[in-house]
């Protein structure tokens, strides 16, 4: 059975000479590579990756349009690693700017921020109720989630400079299982 997977998008940068790059999402033999000059658009098939006999169809992700600027590998099956550049794309008339996912995460209230970097969990164990949900009244010291660093789980408490002793949760910013950096907003309260 074939599975479909999006290629990883690396946005145009100085290092890529202004080109968008599409990277391998896994390790394996890359085949059916498309030739130089072909136009790639969202949802198009752009080759296959074979990993231990399993074939993954590589798919152009949403928001990416361009003309292939690099030559396809010489070998029918090219060994590639995760993150390896498979395609470099020249801008194409009508290209969509896909760099528009930044939201003001503190909109709607005050941010409760991560005390240190880690993976943020909403609930004590899979299937359990979340520590807090939107609409909950919380007071200083209340556990709002877990932060996992190197498989060590620490409780994150509602506390911080400028935060009221009692507040209402407007929404959770960090998703369940998200990696967060120190200072990233976890919740918005009011």
């Amino acid at each position: 059975m074939k599975t479909r997977r999006h290629l990883i998008v690396e946005r145009a940068s100085e290092a890529s000479a202004g080109r968008v790059r599409l990277l391998s999402p896994g390790v394996g033999w890359f085949g059916q590579a498309l030739p130089k000059g072909q136009i790639l658009a969202p949802d198009a098939n752009a080759g296959v990756l074979e990993t231990l006999g399993n074939f993954t169809e590589l798919v152009v992700p949403p928001g990416v349009i361009g003309r292939i600027a690099n030559a396809a590998p010489n070998r029918y099956l090219e060994p590639v690693e995760y993150g390896q550049v498979l395609y470099e794309l020249d801008a194409f008339e009508g290209a969509i700017d896909a760099e528009e996912e930044v939201v003001d995460e503190i909109e709607g209230g005050l941010a409760v921020r991560a005390p240190f970097a880690g993976r943020f969990w909403h609930r004590p164990a899979p299937g359990d109720p979340a520590f807090v949900e939107a609409g909950d009244e919380i007071v200083t010291g209340r556990t709002i989630g877990l932060l996992e660093v190197m498989k060590t789980f620490s409780h994150v408490h509602y506390e911080g400079a400028g935060l009221p002793a009692r507040a209402r949760v407007v929404r959770l910013v960090a998703g369940d299982g998200d990696e967060v950096a120190a200072g990233d907003p976890l919740l918005v309260v009011e």
Partner: protein
């Protein structure tokens, strides 16, 4: 011998195996996650394949990616190191199906020893005494309550697929059982993708003593005597030593002989370790578990026995005969190992990832010799994604007192800046009366109240 070998691991153990491979003329190939791609230790490899993003599940724990990497780099063998896929029987079996040599025991042996209740049964059947506890797994809280009534309190809940203290909970009375059960099960599920638990009596104040074994593929094996690993915090070993201060010469020979006889009776091959718990009152030694892999603390046995365990793993996997006789293996002197972690011992041992501004180990101290096993150097970053081990400091001297003096001298002059370390804890333990007299147990960290 193999020409190229894939090392399916990261950090200190990957570097250790790469060194053993080089000494045998084997080219080491590495695999990394995106988080480790630019790490300085990856320079020990001839070639490196990036497996996936930082998440271990999509990189170091993804057996298909690892084995595919081995194929496309023309490796003929895979060494799993410790942790990650080291005790994953399906990985070992799949490697062999692909025609790769898995450096370790058979998939069957891994599967049997990896599930602790079948392991107990197997060891009981070849004559090793086991700790009283549940017969088989405790599937749910009702089964746990029933098994607890048999074993009595205090008890330990342990992840069947576990190791390194993950998914383990101590429970002193019946009222704590529900909470401990769900916590241990969730942690086991998260760490090993297997939430199965078993339960056994907790022997308060016992000692953790383990025997290092090497068995070839022709039914010959030797034991490299014991290591004592009772200095632990939350079941994570901090200091290991060999020989154990709790055994006399006749006792250690007897324990080693029983362990190697049990392993050979089960047809075990390659390196392995049988862990025992010493009852604090009766001094009986009970089988706890068998680790079917190289262990973090293997260097203490290497130093006292003068045997390169990692190199023997590779030779045995390549069908070489183990040309060591038991009578040729004699422990000489005393070795100690301190695991130096990037953790803040004053903040509940919270991991403190960061950049190493300074990383200088004082190896020119005496009276013994110092070996430092590490993958790091000044300027390197300690990633938040994986375990917090910075380095292992291993010393070897003629006597236990001289080994302790060497370790203290080394750690006092060692300078690590940029991250917090556990060195202060090691020095406190090494200075304590319990440690100096060798009367410590697994229950507490002598000398440390932090």
């Amino acid at each position: 011998m193999f020409r190229r070998i894939l090392i399916a691991n990261r950090g200190e153990v990957a570097v250790r195996i790469a060194r053993a491979a080089r000494e045998l003329g084997i080219a080491p190939v590495g695999v990394v996650s995106e988080a480790d791609r630019d790490a300085s230790w990856t320079q020990v490899f001839d070639q490196v394949v990036t497996l996936g993003p930082a998440s271990a599940r999509e990189s170091y724990l993804d057996g298909a990616r690892v084995l595919q990497a081995a194929r496309q780099t023309h490796c003929t063998a895979v060494h799993p190191g410790w942790g990650f896929l080291a005790e994953d029987a399906r990985f070992a079996a799949q490697a062999r199906e692909l025609g790769l040599t898995f450096v370790g025991p058979s998939a069957d042996a891994i599967a049997r020893m990896g599930q602790k209740s079948p392991a107990k049964e197997a060891m009981r059947s070849v004559g090793l005494p086991v700790v009283p506890g549940s017969v088989g797994l405790v599937k749910d809280i009702d089964a746990a309550r029933a098994a607890a009534a048999e074993s009595g309190y205090p008890l330990l809940l342990k992840a069947d697929a576990g190791g390194g203290g993950r998914g383990m909970r101590r429970c002193d009375e019946a009222s704590q059982l529900d909470e401990a059960f769900s916590a241990a099960s969730a942690e086991a599920e998260s760490a090993f993708a297997n939430g199965d638990l078993y339960l056994e009596r907790y022997l308060t104040g016992g000692r953790h003593i383990e025997v290092q074994l090497l068995c070839d593929r022709f039914g010959h094996g030797v034991h490299l005597f014991e290591r004592e690993c009772s200095i632990q915090r939350r079941h994570q070993k901090l200091i290991e030593e060999a020989p154990s201060p709790a055994l006399d010469d006749a006792g250690r020979r007897d324990l080693g002989r029983r362990a190697i006889e049990a392993a050979l009776a089960l047809g075990y091959e390659n390196a392995g370790t049988i862990e025992f718990l010493m009852d604090p009152t009766t001094k009986e030694l009970f089988f706890m578990e068998m680790n079917t892999r190289l262990q973090v603390e293997h260097p203490v046995s290497e130093l006292v026995c003068g045997v390169d365990i990692a190199a023997w793993q590779l030779r045995i996997a390549a069908n070489h005969r183990l040309d060591l006789r038991q009578e040729d293996v004699a422990p000489k002197g005393h070795a100690l190992e301190c695991r130096i972690n990037a953790e803040d011992p004053h903040a509940d041992f919270r991991p403190t990832p960061g950049t190493l501004e300074r990383f200088d180990f004082a190896t020119d101290v005496g009276p013994g010799t110092v070996r430092v096993d590490t993958h790091l150097e000044a300027g390197d970053t300690v990633s938040p994604h994986y375990d917090s081990l910075l380095a292992k400091v291993i010393v070897h001297a003629d006597t236990r007192a001289a080994a302790i003096a060497t370790m203290v001298a080394c750690l006092e002059k060692t300078r690590i800046e940029g991250v917090n370390t556990t060195i202060a804890v090691h020095l406190a333990v090494l200075a304590s009366n319990e440690f100096r007299s060798g009367t410590y147990d697994t229950q507490s960290l002598p000398g440390w109240n932090g």
